[in-house]
Subunit: 477 residues, 2 copies
């Protein structure tokens, strides 16, 4: 006899948790669909040839690999064994578990290039698996909710990402949030403004740590990596520009012009963008695109500009993002970002389909869950969907309750008859433990008189109602 357990880093979700998680999924799904994103689901199992090499060396380590079925070791020799796990792997495993939703999406687009209509807008809400060390808030099996559009470089998509982020958070009751936005081009221009000293990636890696190690830590790191003190000074002047979204754009523009940064122009696909932008901004792609996103938001009726922050220090995902970059934080909870994303230019290159530009973002459901719990924002709390329990005294009164039970369910009120003729106290305890809000008492006297007692569990209030009027009374309430 074994004591059962589940693998570390995994979780069971009981009824109340599933209901709460479903609430989050529903809000996200409704928002994605309202913007025309269509659902996609890919298999849990992917070929390792698809997954390997897509997430860096560390990612390859964290992939869960699935043993080939049958006699998996039949091709393994003692020599293979002696060379170790890495050399052994291709002989015993050819499949792995989905590690994120982006690579399967890219694989899907590449495989179906001939039949898909572009722009292709898809959302995907599925679990992913990573053999990470489990810790508070980090699991080995967790959900991602991604929305991406590929096959267009219209900045309307970026603006709509901001709209969707705000709509989901608002829909969940999370109103104290900040959507941070930056642009890969702005970061590049900042590097150019420093005179191209040192390595560009060193700079970005250091900036990305600003949140964690602070200005002093970043300065130290940059000094060690060969950046000069005056350069670092200039850097922080640029990174810490203050003001509104537009003021920051203008101040960075001034900085770039002063530093003689070579203009990298507007994107050729949006020829009349400059008509809307103050002329000089248009000389720098990053600044002009950020201005354009803001203009599109204004035109869309977006009113939460106090929650949209242009943050030149935002430097996530720089190995793949090529345009706008997004990150969302909930301000009144101590928690990492709950959403993020950006534009990329080469989603499907490794699958033989180059030049596919797209933009996407993702919600972390587990973090949203923790935020909602911390702020006590969940309203669904029952351990059961049941709204109404019919209690009874004996087989005869139980059977007499069956037509009412059917009527309640037909009226859309999830209901149960306690299955056994147990003591009434036990039946009430059941309703209480499961959080069932209404209990109907069907005793022999009630059955004889054609009435029932309806008790509201929260208040203890009881009413006597004719059997024929119960459903009408409950559906009004």
């Amino acid at each position: 006899m074994q004591k059962p357990s589940i693998p570390k880093g995994t979780r069971d979700f009981g009824p109340a948790q599933v209901a709460r998680r479903q609430h989050i999924f529903n809000v996200i799904r409704r928002t994605f669909e309202s913007f025309g994103y269509a659902p996609l689901e890919t298999p849990t199992l992917e070929n390792l040839s698809v997954l390997t090499g897509k997430y860096g060396d560390e990612g390859d380590q964290l992939l869960f690999k699935v043993l080939n079925s049958g006699d998996f070791a039949k091709d393994v020799t003692a020599d293979d064994l002696a060379t170790g796990s890495k050399a052994l792997l291709p002989k015993v495993a050819e499949k792995g578990l989905r590690y994120d939703l982006t690579v399967p999406f890219a694989r899907y687009v590449a495989m179906n290039r001939g039949t898909l209509t572009f722009p292709f807008k898809r959302y995907q809400m599925q679990p992913v698996w990573r053999a990470d060390r489990p810790q508070r808030g980090r699991y080995r099996e967790f959900y991602q909710c991604d929305a991406d559009v590929v096959g267009t470089d219209s900045l309307l998509c970026e603006a709509e990402i901001v709209l969707m982020m705000a709509q989901v958070l608002g829909g969940l009751g999370l109103h104290d949030f900040t959507i941070k936005i930056n642009h890969r081009g702005v970061l590049r221009n900042i590097y150019q403004a420093l005179g191209g000293e040192g390595r560009e990636t060193d700079l970005f890696v250091a900036i990305d740590k600003l949140d964690k190690i602070g200005r002093d830590g970043v300065s130290k790191e940059l000094l060690e990596r060969g950046f000069s003190a005056p350069t670092i000074e200039t850097l922080f002047e640029l990174l810490t520009v203050e003001g509104t979204y537009e003021e920051k754009l203008q101040r960075l523009l001034a900085g770039f012009v002063t530093a003689g940064v070579e203009p990298d122009g507007v994107r050729p696909t949006a020829p009349d963008v400059e008509a809307d932008s103050p002329e000089p901004l248009a000389n720098y792609r990053g600044l002009t695109e950020l201005a354009e996103v803001r203009d599109l938001l204004v035109a869309s009726g977006f009113r939460q500009f106090d929650r949209l922050e242009f943050d030149p220090t935002l430097a996530r995902g720089l190995s793949y993002y090529t345009g706008c970059i997004f990150e969302v934080k909930i301000n009144n909870v101590q928690m990492g970002s709950v959403s993020g994303g950006g534009r990329y230019d080469n989603l499907t290159g490794s699958f033989g389909l180059p030049g596919v530009s797209g933009v996407g973002f993702s919600f972390g459901v587990d973090r949203l869950y923790d935020c909602l719990e911390a702020l006590d924002l969940f309203t669904v709390t029952g351990e059961t969907p049941t709204r109404c329990l019919i209690t009874h005294f004996d087989v005869a009164s139980g059977r007499a309750a069956l037509p009412l039970l059917a009527e309640l369910r037909a009226a859309g009120i999830p209901s149960e008859l306690y299955p056994d003729a147990s003591k009434l106290q036990k039946q009430f305890k059941y309703a209480d433990a499961k959080g069932i809000p209404l209990v109907i008492i069907m005793g022999p006297e009630e059955a004889a008189a054609g009435v029932v007692k309806v008790k509201i569990m929260q208040t203890g209030v009881e009413r006597v109602l004719p059997v024929g009027k119960v459903v009408a009374a409950l559906t009004v309430e």
Copy 2:
């Protein structure tokens, strides 16, 4: 550059398929919840100690095992390798993929025995994985939808399974179905009526093949296994009793009495059942319980008795079912059973919690999908949730459309603005390919006049409407 693929036996579900599958899940979920079943989700990864030995030797073979992360081969010696894959397995893998929903449910109940309130009614809709040989209609990754109640042996649960089966199938538009019901006790009584000749399991295994190999095949097999020709004759007399549900019960009763089958009595937990049943039926547990399920259905207002068949040849899952057994077929499609289940008495015994009785059933979503497709019963067909595409001519008219776009979405109409100012023809082609039913044309003239053209794609009918009246017009339709 690789040509991407997915593992055999797995599938991508594109937007239209996800929407159709979601429709099936929603009907099942609503039904389960209306009967008070609460959702549970368990991890994809389970410890192999939980999974192994639960599905027989063949099942153990079909489990997908996950390689331990890190240096998985570090404890493997050349000697281990020489002894082969089976001996090697425990050294390289301690986790596997969920193989069904029953064992994880049992594991959950055993782990949470202290906090769960019984009776515990749960449903679970999640994928499972089996390293089976893929073939038409059989996948390596597929969904199951299970509902079980444990901690009660009330036959109301069995009756409600019939109600739920009928409600789900009706909700999906599948009206030509047969719910077959049998009872483990009836099968045992039949064996006893044969005088206890041969092995009981041989008999049941043969009966279970009746559908596939016919009466002659079964007779041949039983003869080979030591049953006499007269015994086999008697067997088929019992198995092929004709008539209504009640008539079959009575005819089997007569057969059992004639053959002198020892009464196995009514269940002690339902002391007044015999009051409702014709006296002699109550001498046999199987017959009396089947009669009771029927009575409970009558009392619940069930009217589809032409679709409920008492079938004494139904012999599925006899290694674990101990009471009623169910199976559902769709009659107007060539397809295996789409649902099945039964009562079991020892769900959690192997996890150290004996004596947990329960009853449950399962829907095969993939088979339901295939039935609905074969009968052309899907109404959701779009490749996108978008109901309305706004087309435009240039950046200015595109931007002028943004307030209308926001208004449509706010009114609950999933909508898109074509993201690029492409040729109108291309934008219409997009709407057509995605199955978007409505296209709004926002050209410079329309924008200047404050109107739009609304085109119904299916009919080609166009209407000119003031921008301010579009949403009202569309929400009425």
